[in-house]
Each structure stands twice: as C-alpha cells, then as structure tokens.
C-alpha cells in the first residue's frame, strides 16, 4: 500500500466567506479526490469545505492492527435542500450549554445546517435579554437556568465554525406565559364573567405598549442573532382568554372584527411581521399563521408541523408562493417501539400535489425535539441517530432510499458518533468494533 500524505483544501472562489455567517444561500457543495500522494478537497466557499472534511473523515478507517487507511475515491457532493434543521426546545426543560454544543457537533457529523433554537415558551424564559433583563430574572426556572449573552454568543460562534445557522424562536402571541412574569401588562388578563380570573392569556394585542415592547425586543434580537431569519412561532393560540376579556371584545367591535379571533390574531401578527421587516429581518412562522389568513410577505417561510394532512398543507402554502419548511413527519419527541428511524427515513418531502415551481419552494425540513420529556439526561440518545435519518433525507439525492443499505451505513455512523462523544442510541441489535469491556 502507498501512503497518503496530506489533504489539501482549496477554496476556489475569490470570497471564501471565511469571516461570514452561513445563510440560506450558502454554497455547501464540494469535490473530493483521494489519490496518491495527496487528497484534494475543492469547494467554492468554506461551507463546502466543512462538509467535505466531514466526508473525508468518514472515509478513513482503522484496521485491526491500528493502521489507518483510505480507499482512492472521487466524490462530488451538494445538498438536496438548503435548510436542514434541528429544533431543540430549551424552555420546557432547560438544556445546559454543554448539551447544546454536543448536539451542534452531532449536527455537523450529519451535515445539518440550521439550529432552530426554541429558546422560550410558556414554561420558562431562559434567554437573558440586555434590554429587558426581568424577562429571564422573573421568567426563568431559576437564576441558574438562563442563557447569558455570553452563552448565546458562544452557541452562535460554535455553530458558525460548523457551518450551522442559529435561528431563534420567540413564539408570539401564544406560548408566552413565561414572558408575563417579567413584563407587566404584556399578557391579556382573563375574565370569569365580569371579574378578572387572575389568570393570563396570550399577548395583549390591544395595547400600544405591547408593540413598543416587541419592537425593542426585536431590535435586540436583530443585533444578537446574525441570521437573516427570526422564527416568530405563531402556533396554538388559545382564544379563550381573549374571548373572556371585555376590553378585547370592545376593541374587536371597534375594528369590525365581529367575533373572529383569528382576525385579531392576524391583526397582531401582521404588525409584528412588519416590525421584523423594519429591523431588516425575515420571518419564519408556524403554519397556523398562514392558515388564519394573515397577510404574509412573499418571502415569509411557513413551517408545516401538523401531522395530519401535511401534504395538503405543503400544496396550499406553496401554491400561494410561500417557501415552506417541513417538520410534521419528523417530530422525534414521539417515540415508539422498534426501528422508527425507518419511518423518518421513508418520508419524501416533495411527495405532494404541486407543479415544479411549487416543489422548488420547499426549502427543506427540520427534525424537532420538544422538551416535555427531554432534558440533558436523554436528549442526545433520543435525537441521534433518529435525526440522522432525517439528515440523509434532506442532504442526499431523492433516489437514496434503500433501507437495507441505509441500515448498514447508519449502524456504522452511529458507532462513529459514539467514538466522537455523542451518546447515540443503538438502531437495533449489534455492537461497535471499538467497544471494550470497560466502556460504559
């Protein structure tokens, strides 16, 4: 056997984008040629080089005698979809920084490129805002369960070094219970008949102070998160509280909304979407915002999450000309007995009724791990390698569907993730060759 002495990495375009952040337009393509005496990895931008380095590292094997070898290879590669995301929920359970960073590593091993950081929700507000520090001071589980500006910066930088975008989700107007603790009058007071019940509902859409606050917060988010997009949420808004509040009813009457609370929600969301545009960001929203008929800017991305009829939703969203992200079939918080990775692997994102132009509007997908039953103790094994199945579906060509071949490769990939410190759970029976008796 002859020896491979080096891997030469060549960025071919004038602007390597070395000092930039990755974005939805980032070029991740690369060519890799492995032959004696040196391998050559060519990419237009650094993002492609990162993906190619991952591929190169997977090609190197170690034999039983401790010698490293690689087969001569010729690879040309680029992703099928531009948006390949993992949603992690850090509100329902707080995730320590270390867990987030390990999962960013695992994302890079699987060529994911978007960390959808579901950073706040009803249960807690761990994001420490510079403008509104009381939000986390009052809304986090404890003073320990917060992401400081330094922590957030670290996550963004760590992700950038792996070609991963960080898109924060600040869900609004629903799922905002934790916001109300640190921001007076932000939430709608609910009524029991003529009297306040003591509970609070979604964001109060009838007060000017609500919009002043949101604009200030969005201005901060703009400066903290470099990505072009902000996820505004917009899901599961419960109208019960708005319906009970006499001031909201009066406001609805004045505006001519009759009894349509979806119109009230639309009124609120449209103002927030305009604010997002005014701070030079673009929006991603959950599908209900689209379903409720909110006037969306054409470049607003709609994320399809409802499991039933998601193909019909993709058809409708793209028919209206909106880019779409598919999450519905990849809710990894649902667990079942056996090899459910096959179910995730078998999803074809473009399998819906629509013309070519509609299908081109599907920018990608996301595997989602909501936090109800997941914290640092079980997040990683529940996520990996099940999310890997989604990763290949979003990266590889449409015709890469052979389950038996995928099983063999994914089993080995899971062992590779273990070696690199990611506690990925087993796919099925078997072992990893590097396991030793004293390894736990």
């Amino acid at each position: 056997e002859t020896e491979l002495f080096s891997l030469q990495v060549i960025i071919t375009s004038e602007d390597s984008e070395c000092d930039k952040y990755p974005g939805v337009e980032s070029d991740e393509s690369y060519q890799l040629q492995v032959s004696e005496p040196t391998a050559v990895l060519k990419a237009s931008k650094v993002w492609g080089a990162l993906r190619g380095l991952e591929t190169f590292s997977q090609l190197v094997n170690e034999d039983d005698y401790g010698s490293f070898f690689i087969n001569e290879s010729d690879i040309s590669d680029s992703p099928r979809f531009a948006h390949r995301g993992i949603l992690l929920d850090t509100s329902r359970h707080f995730l320590p920084l270390k867990s987030i960073l390990i999962n960013l590593d695992a994302m890079a091993f699987n060529k994911f490129n978007v960390f959808h950081w579901h950073i706040v929700d009803d249960q807690s507000f761990p994001y420490q805002s510079i403008t509104f520090p009381e939000l986390s001071a009052q809304g986090a589980y404890s003073y320990n369960h917060v992401y400081t500006p330094t922590d957030v910066r670290l996550v963004i930088d760590y992700a950038r070094l792996r070609g991963i975008r960080v898109i924060p989700e600040f869900d609004t107007p629903g799922h905002t219970e934790s916001w109300g603790k640190g921001q007076k009058d932000f939430l709608t007071p609910c009524y029991n008949g003529e009297h306040p019940s003591g509970s609070y509902g979604p964001v109060n859409p009838i007060l000017n102070t609500t919009y002043d606050f949101m604009l200030q917060l969005l201005k901060e988010i703009r400066t903290v998160f470099p990505d072009e997009y902000i996820h505004l949420g917009g899901d599961e808004v419960d109208f019960t509280c708005w319906r009970s509040n006499p001031d909201v009813s009066e406001f609805m009457k004045e505006r001519g909304f009759s009894h349509s609370y979806t119109k009230l929600e639309s009124y609120y969301i449209e103002k927030i979407l305009d604010m997002v545009s005014s701070v030079n960001k673009k929006s991603i929203v959950w599908q209900e915002v689209f379903d409720n008929g909110v006037q969306l800017q054409p470049d607003t991305i709609v994320e399809v999450w409802m499991g039933t009829l998601y193909k019909e939703e993709l058809r409708r969203v793209t028919k209206e000309g909106h880019p779409a992200i598919l999450a519905a079939p990849w809710y990894l918080d649902y667990i079942s007995y056996g090899q459910d990775w096959k179910k995730y692997y078998s999803v074809e994102p473009l399998d819906f009724l629509g013309c070519r132009a509609q299908k081109e509007l599907v920018v990608g997908g996301e595997a989602c791990l909501w936090g109800e039953y997941v914290d640092a103790t079980n997040l990683t094994p529940r996520l990996w390698p099940r999310a890997s199945a989604v990763g290949e579906r979003l990266w590889s060509s449409k015709n890469v569907t052979d389950i038996a071949d995928a099983y063999n490769r994914l089993t080995e990939h899971r062992c590779r993730m273990l070696r690199r410190g990611v506690a990925a759970e087993p796919l099925f029976v078997g072992y990893c060759s590097n396991e030793t008796g004293d390894r736990t």
């Binding site: 056997e1 030469q8 960025i11 380095l53 087969n71 001569e72 990763g391 080995e412």
Partner: protein
C-alpha cells in the same frame, strides 16, 4: 458514508495514512489561507476525529498540526 454523497466512486486501491506524517493544509491557489480561523479550527478538529479515537494509538503523542 452518512449522509450519502450525490456522486461517489470508491476504488479498491487503498492508501495508508500515518498520523505523524499526515497533514490537512491549505492548497495552493486557495482564497482561504492560515488566517482563516474557521478552517484552521476545522483542520484541527477533523485531524482529531480521524486519528484521535484509535484504540491502539490514542495514547501516542499527537503530532501538532501545522
């Protein structure tokens, strides 16, 4: 490989890699050089992934990456 690349040809011919001699470096003509910390960091990281988990060699002194 995971995920599977778009186009892939792997030949049976094998090449050896010696951890103490193998280097990941910027090729000539690259618009990114040693000042590109993103790539420098990635070179170090992937050198570690390739050679750092050997059951035989992980106690050896690692060759610093130039």
């Amino acid at each position: 490989l995971w995920p599977l690349p778009r186009s892939l040809h792997i030949s049976p011919a094998r090449l050896q890699l010696a951890p103490k001699r193998f280097q990941i470096l910027h090729g000539s003509g690259s618009s990114a050089g040693p000042r590109c910390s993103l790539l420098q960091d990635a070179f170090r990281r992937y050198y570690g992934y390739i050679f750092g988990y050997s059951k035989w060699q992980n106690h050896d002194e690692k060759k610093p990456l130039s």
